[in-house]
């Protein structure tokens, strides 16, 4: 399990290569990279996405999610790297990867970790636009997705 809270830009290609070296002979490696958008919901230009975190609780919340995914999907390896700080459009916000014996578990584990990160990882974020700050909170869909995993 590799869980990192990054305060500088991250390189998903390097992180994916690292995850591949941790496959331990497993047959499937799935990953997801979340990127900072260039346009907001209204079509306005976003100059940056700014993420705030809270002390050790943020990393602990990420570790709990990776550990739960590892147990639930019998992963060979789980990886979460999450940015904090100011992320420019096109830069990676989050990278998640899972290796498992078969693809279904790896793909599901990546979706599971992302759904939980959206609503349970200890971050707050806002979009910076010409008009000022816009705080982003999870949507009803985000909450429904995480609830569905506990059904």
């Amino acid at each position: 399990m590799a869980v990192v809270l990054a305060t500088e830009p991250i390189n998903p290609a390097i992180l994916l290569a690292e995850a591949e070296t941790q496959s331990n002979g497993a047959g499937a490696l799935a990953s997801f990279t979340g990127l900072a958008r260039r346009a907001g919901k209204d079509g306005d230009t976003i100059t940056a996405l700014v993420l705030e975190h809270y002390r050790g609780l943020t990393l602990a919340s990420m570790q709990a999610i990776a550990a739960a995914a590892t147990a639930r999907f019998a992963l060979a390896h789980a990886h979460i790297t999450h940015r904090s700080g100011r992320v420019l459009p096109g830069e990676a916000i989050v990278f998640v990867a899972a290796t498992a014996p078969h693809r279904a578990a790896a793909l599901d584990a990546v979706a599971y970790m992302m759904d939980r990160l959206k609503t349970e990882a200890v971050f707050w974020k806002y979009e910076e636009t010409a008009g000022g700050k816009r705080w982003i909170e999870p949507t009803e869909t985000d909450h429904a997705r995480v609830t569905a995993w506990s059904l």
């Binding site: 705030e52 050790g56 989050v94 609503t119 705080w135 999870p138």
Partner: protein, 85 residues
């Protein structure tokens, strides 16, 4: 009296125009419900948010309920809904 520092996270800091607030507490401490009440009185713009159950209290890096007692020197923070990913 001693001083308790309360951090306001995420949009709460913008609403109060302060990232941290200090308040005087007696030696036997204050409940989180009392701290919420104090913040609502001090920052009217924060009232709706700070009295909502969607805003959770954190003491020494653990989420606590409104009955928890906090004393000077503890790390107290209020969390609006989390938003990672």
């Amino acid at each position: 009296m001693a001083v308790l520092t309360v951090e306001l996270c995420g949009r709460l800091a913008d609403m109060a125009a302060a990232a941290a607030v200090t308040l005087d507490v007696a030696e036997d401490g204050l409940s989180i419900a009392d701290v919420r009440g104090h913040l609502a009185r001090t920052f009217p713009a924060l009232t709706d948010a700070i009295t909502s159950d969607k805003v959770r209290a954190c003491v020494d890096e653990a989420i606590v309920d409104d009955r928890a007692i906090v004393r000077a020197g503890q790390a107290v923070a209020f969390f609006p809904p989390l938003s990672g990913g």
